[in-house]
Amino acid sequence: MTGHRVTRSDRQSTAGLAVSAVLLVVLFLLPWWDSDGSLRVPLVAILYYLALAQMWNLLAGFAGLVSIGQQMFVGIGVYTLLSFAEDFGVDPYLSVLLAGLVAAILSLPVAAFAFRLRGGYFAIGTWVIAEVFRLIALESDFLGGANVRTLTRESLGGYSLDTRNTVTYLMALGLAAGATAIVVLVLRSRLGLALRSIRDNQEGARGLGVSVGRAKLAVWVISAFWTGMTGAVILLHNPSTRAESAFSVLRWTALVVFIAIIGGVGSTTGPIVGVAIYWFVREFLEDAEEWRFIILGLIAAAMAIMAPRGVYGLLQKRWPVQFFPVRRRLVGPGVGGPAPGGPAQPVADAGHPPV
Amino acid sequence: MTLLEVRGLDAGYGDFQALFGIDVTVTEGETLAMIGANGAGKTTFLRVLAGQVPTRAGSIVFDGTDIAGVKAHRRVGLGIALVPEGRMLFGSLTVRENLIIGAHAGRPGRWDLEAVLDVFPLIRPLLERPSHVLSGGEQQAVAIGRALMSNPRLILLDEVSLGLAPVVVKSLYQALPALSEGGATVLLVEQDIGQALEVASRLVCLLEGRVSLEGKPAEVPRSDITAAYFGLPAGSGSEASS
């Protein structure tokens, strides 16, 4: 076995990392040259949609947890930020972190119920629980009931408008990049190995000592945390809300699902492609929200049947490039290391028994 | 008359190829036994004939037409019935319903519920029970009866004796002549060589997905069968079996 090693990277994914690093730096520096915010402001929505899509992708594409209840974590994030910043006077940017924590904590009892259901029934079950949260928000006098609630000037502290816009933008960028990094890191960790063995063979994974429940729960809580923080940043960007929009299944799950599916679930790059396509469609159908949903819904449904790996999957079939190094490959003489341009044979997790 | 002619058949699952260039001919009215070690490809062969596993190459000519591309649910109507490995009764149907559903394709013929019960009288008192409470032998009888209900011209039996006590196996095999008299040609898979030789008019042995021997039981020396079964050089079988 001399000369073999297990590696996760090759020339292409190194190039991929380099490209994304450059992109990230450009986006990071954007506030300093886009002084009027004409680029930044629309970008925020794209960025938080990317964060949401990556988190849904992590659940549905890698852990088999097809959630239609992501709006509950967005809504929890929104209302946590409102309560902490408005009612308790906590710094709004610190409250973003707290929003994530509250969502993560609440995701535990949610899992206790939802994890009793499988497949399609899990999907509807999460939807029901999201409805429960929405109805509780509507009932609660403390949270403002059915009224519109606004994050006021006072609770935003002494920050100037320009600073606020810049910070919101940078937070959205951090959430989007962070969500992508989380998916990459999770997949490269032991948790990723456990998830992959579960996806390939649930019974077999159990036999190997993988705790199916614990691996799924870990991913569930991570996704809730990040989605909750994203919800809080959504409120910073758009400071008026009501229960109907904070817990909107159309905005925070349907659109997110369409983005992920069209781009490609089960890969880290897919949602990025999806969000780019979404931007494009939105530019074209700016004032026709219904048509946007009709077109994206039809494309997503057709994709789910004909191209389950999405646009990125189709691109990859033609140009087999792996952008982020998440798969381990066995490289060495006789294994046929990744030839430039040719499809590299992924040797699934060689030599690493899932734990 | 030739009922079934298989030529150059390849089949497998995903990347794995289980059958390589199988040639087998079945003549109407005979009882052909297929033997072979675990994993030799016997079940796969029967499942290809029944349409449950696709044909990758070669032809399957049944009664003069190539059926390699015909879907599984249409083959019953042509007269091919499979008694699958593991019996596979429908657990939420009663024994009676399991038998009746065998006639779903509606092929005319002499087999009906009464005729099946005459061949397997042990089923009669069990008709209204849910099939999952039956013993292994009873299940096997129902599974064969269910296949007969479709009035097959070719009945494929996969390891009838699997996991059953010798007396039970014996009583099931005693029903075989009735199947032939009823107009069905029998192709049976069996691991128990002795049992197979007793009932078969002809023998085919599979070895790692290839036919390793073919002939009439009376004409093939036992040592050749053992050699073909275990993949030893011809003539060395007697040493291996001792």
Binding site: A123, G125, I129, E139, V257, P308 | H73, G91, L93, R146
Partner: protein, 292 residues
């Protein structure tokens, strides 16, 4: 007395929920298929009835003669043309296709019929009722709905247990590959099941439209109630679906009574909570045979 009345009205409402749940339960029982557009299809059926009644001047009850076959054919075709391609061990494709379809239906309805609420007018019977006591009266429409629900579920149960079609459904539900060995065309059978599911959900949609006003976005709520009725009753049990629907109906009206009496609570919230309690304490449902 108000509380007793709430329970009586809840049982009537439960008939509607059971009617909604029937198709969901059938599709899951036969092919483990979960249709997330189920509620939107009911609303679609109700809107088709709106068009049919206004175009032909028919009574909404009579419009069922047109709506039901149209929806049955749609279900059959959709299963053969699309849903069948998503049936696999992986539930993701079927969830995505039906979820996408539901969103598309909602938005197409918004585009064609606008966001306004509609109703189906069946005439004076709508306000007529049977008086039991001074405080309790049973409306004819809710009563007819309950009777129709019981009849539909009863017919379904008879079909499944007594007819060759029902036998084939049960065989396919047990083991599709072996069912094919019997000459059963499972894909076609799935289409038949989906046709029946669409037909029953169309009936439910029309009864919903007769009972109350509805809009293009009301589908998801109906999906959730139908799902809850199925899970409360127990997967794979036809009568369980009825029991689940009735219990959920009572939860809704009692929840509504809470709101009237104390100013807090609402029907849907109490309904969801009852569902969660059943899920936590008896995940296989009240009459369920198997846990899923």
């Amino acid at each position: 007395m108000e509380w007793l009345n709430a329970i009586v009205q809840g049982i009537m409402l439960g008939g509607l929920f059971a009617l909604f749940a029937t198709g969901l339960s059938l599709a899951f029982g036969v092919m483990r298929f979960v249709n997330l557009a189920h509620g939107d299809l009911a609303i679609l059926g109700a809107f088709v009835a709106v068009s049919v009644t206004s175009a032909l001047g028919l009574n909404p009850f009579v419009s069922l003669v047109i709506v039901v076959p149209v929806m049955l054919a749609t279900g059959y075709a959709l299963q053969l043309g699309a849903f069948n391609f998503t049936i696999s061990a992986d539930p993701l494709p079927s969830i995505l296709v039906t979820f996408g379809l539901g969103i598309v239906i909602q938005n197409v309805l918004l585009e064609t019929y606008s966001a306004d609420s509609r109703g189906l007018d069946v005439g004076s019977i709508e306000i007529e009722s049977i008086r039991i006591t001074d405080a309790i009266a049973i409306g004819w429409i809710p009563l007819i709905t309950l009777i129709v629900a019981v009849a539909v579920l009863g017919a379904l149960q008879l079909m499944l247990s007594r007819t060759p079609l029902g036998r084939a459904f049960r065989a396919v539900s047990d083991d599709p590959p072996t069912a094919r060995l019997m000459g059963i065309n499972d894909r076609n059978l799935y289409a038949v099941a989906m046709g029946i599911a669409f037909a029953t959900v169309a009936v439910a949609g029309v009864f919903l439209g007769i009972r109350q006003s509805f809009g293009p976005l009301d589908g998801p709520a109906q999906l959730l109630y139908a799902f809850e009725a199925v899970v409360i009753g127990g997967l794979g049990s036809v009568w369980g679906t009825l029991v689940g629907g009735l219990l959920l109906g009572v939860a809704h009206t009692v929840g509504g009574q809470f709101e009237v009496a104390y100013g807090y609570g609402s029907g849907p919230l109490v309904g969801h909570l009852v569902f969660l309690v059943v899920l936590a304490t008896k995940p296989s449902g009240l009459l369920g045979r198997r846990a899923e």
